[in-house]
Symmetry: C3
Subunit: 109 residues, 3 copies
Amino acid sequence: MKLIVAIVQDKDSTRLSNSLIDADIRATKLSTTGGFLRAGNTTFLIGIDEARLDETLEIIKKSSQKREQFMTPPINLDSPMEVTHTYPIEVQVGGATVFILPIDSFYHF
Amino acid sequence: MKLIVAIVQDKDSTRLSNSLIDADIRATKLSTTGGFLRAGNTTFLIGIDEARLDETLEIIKKSSQKREQFMTPPINLDSPMEVTHTYPIEVQVGGATVFILPIDSFYHF
Amino acid sequence: MKLIVAIVQDKDSTRLSNSLIDADIRATKLSTTGGFLRAGNTTFLIGIDEARLDETLEIIKKSSQKREQFMTPPINLDSPMEVTHTYPIEVQVGGATVFILPIDSFYHF
Ligand code: NI
Ligand code: NI
Ligand code: NI
């Protein structure tokens, strides 16, 4: 048994929740109050048997790893005539920080 | 010194808080944003000397373990005449998930 | 790599956040729902290389350790004429509880 502490962006939180449910892996989600360095993230606590550790890491990675995304920049309202000059740009989203903690013992009451 | 991470249902949170206060055991409570598998729970962080570990586990168990509870099902408003047919039913409530984590060191500033 | 779990009073939370940013140390902040023994605190999760552990502890200590502070007691509205008898008194504020947890492994996706 290990305790996984996984911090992901809020935007990936629902996807990760759903993927864990699909895999029948229990998790507890902790809210963050404006994490100052990575605003808007969610911390997952996941107790997992070592036999399923790699699988769980793979789920976290698939659900939340850093990736490029195309985003259309907001229209400049000061010069609406230039709208046609707006191109989608690539931005980086996602990213997860994951700690695997050893545990001395585990109880389920 | 160990770090106890205990996840209990919200409905048992106040009782556990009070029992820990009675035993003079310090705890920090973390809120959860709709834990997706066990909606509405509270995570307790408790730093505890190993000498008091068993006692603390016993307090957690007594305050929040799974148990049967009788609950009267809500009245069916569509057919109020059948109210007399409503019997209390047994439902399962409570339950705690507890991790005991080793710590390298502990500071109190 | 270690995982620091640091619990500080809300009033010291912004100062600690800023000091960590200045030192280029990443942290995740968890909100607490009325920690019952130390109402209004914030829990910081900080993954840190062992080489920077002492430095980080020093930052936490400087930002949040227990200290005396002079506070002017509120004016007694029942006898406003006695305002001149109000002296600043010394109160204790701050304080941090810090756990250093070993980690088995660490991932950044
Ligand atoms: Ni990152
Ligand atoms: Ni359970
Ligand atoms: Ni203290």
